[in-house]
């Protein structure tokens, strides 16, 4: 590296390499974020004049039951999505053996992740259908009256979350399988000589070594939970009566269907602020490991 030179004088070369990516990023990511935040102080139908309304959108948001319901659903998504790393780890442990055909089994367990959420949504909507879905059949088999889980306000969010967990578990599983591959065999052998096994072994010896995988699994799962949109749009359109809406969907619905861009921007800003907590946490971790 020509560090002696670059320390004294400005070196343009890295900036030339960075320029195209930076321009695209500023135009399509940074600038829109600032735009959205500023738009949240206006009222705008998307076509006419924008009217400055100060914090009125936020005041309204605070009193809007649909906002709190969406936020509550986001939290339910977050909490239940945390099952993905746990179940993902369980499946990874289950599959971490060397038998004939296990590689194919791993791939088959993983591939729901590759499928579009639109298809996952259609598949599960069908699975849940009270008339002919498998769930209805199973309930009928046990002598229960099949209920329409997607039309019931109390069950709909959970039903969609299960659909969302399916690919998410697959993702976490592959992270843990990679992590399990990189375990230190000497430590495990030493622990085995000390008679550690089963759950104790997992908790004290294995999990600490899997920490990088766990970290990534949790980060992508949190992001996945807060990003949830596709499944809701496909399976329920936020219904019945907005009961399955989350902030991402509520924002879309207000802006695109109700032409309330300013209000939508305020919802988006709220979601962005929540997400920022996680982004800050992730960056802090990432940059800390960078310094080492």
């Amino acid at each position: 590296m020509s560090q002696k030179a670059s320390k004294r004088q400005f070196n343009i070369t890295p900036w030339l390499f960075l320029m195209p990516a930076l321009i695209m990023f500023v135009v399509y990511v940074l600038y829109p974020i600032i735009q959205s935040i500023s738009l949240s102080f206006y009222e705008w139908d998307g076509l006419g004049e924008k009217t400055w309304v100060g914090v009125a959108n936020y005041v309204e948001l605070f009193d809007d039951d649909r906002f709190w319901l969406s936020l509550k659903n986001n939290i339910i998504w977050l909490v239940f999505f945390m099952l993905a790393p746990i179940i993902g780890l369980a499946i990874a442990l289950f599959l971490n053996q060397e038998v004939a055909g296990i590689r194919l089994a791993k791939s088959l367990f993983f591939f729901p992740f590759v499928i579009s959420q639109v298809v996952v949504g259609l598949v599960f909507a069908w699975f849940y259908d009270p008339g002919f879905g498998l769930l209805g059949h199973v309930m009928g088999f046990f002598g229960m009256e099949p209920i329409s889980v997607l039309a019931n306000e109390d069950t709909v969010t959970y039903a969609i979350i299960i659909a969302g967990l399916w690919p998410q578990i697959a993702y976490c599983m592959i992270l843990y399988l990679t992590g399990l591959n990189g375990l230190n065999p000497e430590q495990i052998e030493a622990a085995r000589l000390d008679n550690a096994k089963g759950f104790k072994m997992l908790w004290y010896i294995i999990l600490p070594q899997l920490r990088p995988a766990t970290f990534i699994a949790i980060v992508v799962t949190v992001i996945g939970a807060l990003r949830s949109f596709d499944l809701i749009a496909i399976m329920t359109d936020g219904g019945p009566y907005g009961s399955s809406s989350v902030l991402a969907y509520f924002m879309y619905e207000q802006s695109i269907n109700s032409f309330r861009m300013g209000y939508g921007a305020a919802i988006a800003t709220a979601l962005f602020m929540i997400m920022n907590i996680y982004i800050a946490f992730f960056l802090w971790r990432m940059l800390k490991s960078e310094e080492r």
Partner: protein, 283 residues
């Protein structure tokens, strides 16, 4: 290895394990298997409520031909391809350059820019939605392939830069230094030394970006409205309204939409997993 390898366990454990794997797999993939079966059912089966049994008639060819004949499915697939391929090329090209700059040059703001690209990855789409839509309209690119591609390139560049920067940082500095002392220019170093060395990363990123963009639904909903541009995800959603209860067609359409990324995954599995599990092995 953990758990204890099976070869150190009893025969009974071995046999039950070999039985348990296919059974769990069957349950895991049950919803998908049912859809695959239903995509081969006849309309009579659907009307009689035979959704889960063995189809009374195998209508594989009829159903899939029907989907391609009665709907713009070819168009949708072709549209998706027109979006995914340029996006993959564009974002990876930009990210390789940016990653090179961030990995191999020391300058003020280096780490800040890197952090910015990482943070950009996690931003919720909704905070970008209205301005990106306005911008696309202002550029005259609403409802065009290029409009979608430009946004996807910009957004995917963040992820790809993170990946590339870490990959290039691992390459030895000596290569560059000796080339530089021979008087080789920086852009030549980039093209003749760096690019050939990052080929495995290029492959991993290409499959990942291709899959992400193939499966994008949200931006297709926001930036596109006509069948001439609409990708297969949004197209499938539109067809759902039109097909109503024709579940054999919906199933066939779903399978068609899901197949290309699934095939790519099985073909390029090693690269795909390498890209996705980046960092799962180290602190």
């Amino acid at each position: 290895m953990f758990p204890t390898p099976l070869k150190h366990r009893s025969t009974a454990a071995n046999i039950s394990y070999r039985l348990a794997v296919p059974i769990t797999l069957l349950i895991w993939l049950l919803p998908l298997l049912a859809v695959a079966l239903t995509s081969m059912r006849s309309i009579e089966d659907i009307n009689q409520g035979n959704y889960w049994g063995i189809p009374s008639d195998w209508n594989l060819v009829e159903n899939y031909t029907e989907v391609f004949k009665a709907t713009p499915m070819w168009q949708y697939l072709f549209n998706t391809l027109k979006i995914t391929v340029p996006t993959a090329i564009g974002s990876i090209a930009l990210a390789t350059m940016a990653g090179f700059a961030l990995a191999k040059y020391k300058f003020r703001g280096n780490l800040f820019l890197f952090a910015l690209f990482i943070a950009g990855n996690f931003v919720p789409f909704q905070i970008l939605m209205i301005p990106v839509r306005d911008l696309t309209i202002a550029f005259g690119l609403y409802d065009t392939t290029l409009g979608l591609v430009l946004f996807h390139v910009a957004f995917q560049t963040g992820f790809c830069t993170l990946f590339m920067r870490n990959f290039i940082a691992q390459l030895p500095n000596e290569l560059m230094e000796s080339a530089r002392s021979e008087g080789v220019k920086d852009w030549q170093i980039f093209i003749y030394i760096i690019v050939p060395l990052v080929r495995p990363a290029l492959a991993a990123l290409a499959v990942l970006v291709f899959t992400f963009i193939w499966n994008d639904f949200f931006w297709a909903l926001i930036l596109v409205q006509s069948d001439e541009v609409r990708p297969v995800t949004a197209g499938l959603n539109a067809l759902r309204g039109q097909w109503l209860a024709s579940w054999h067609l919906i199933s066939a359409g779903s399978i068609i939409a899901a197949l290309p990324p699934v095939m790519l995954f099985f073909l390029m599995q090693k690269h795909f997993v390498a890209g996705l599990t980046l960092g799962a092995n180290k602190g």
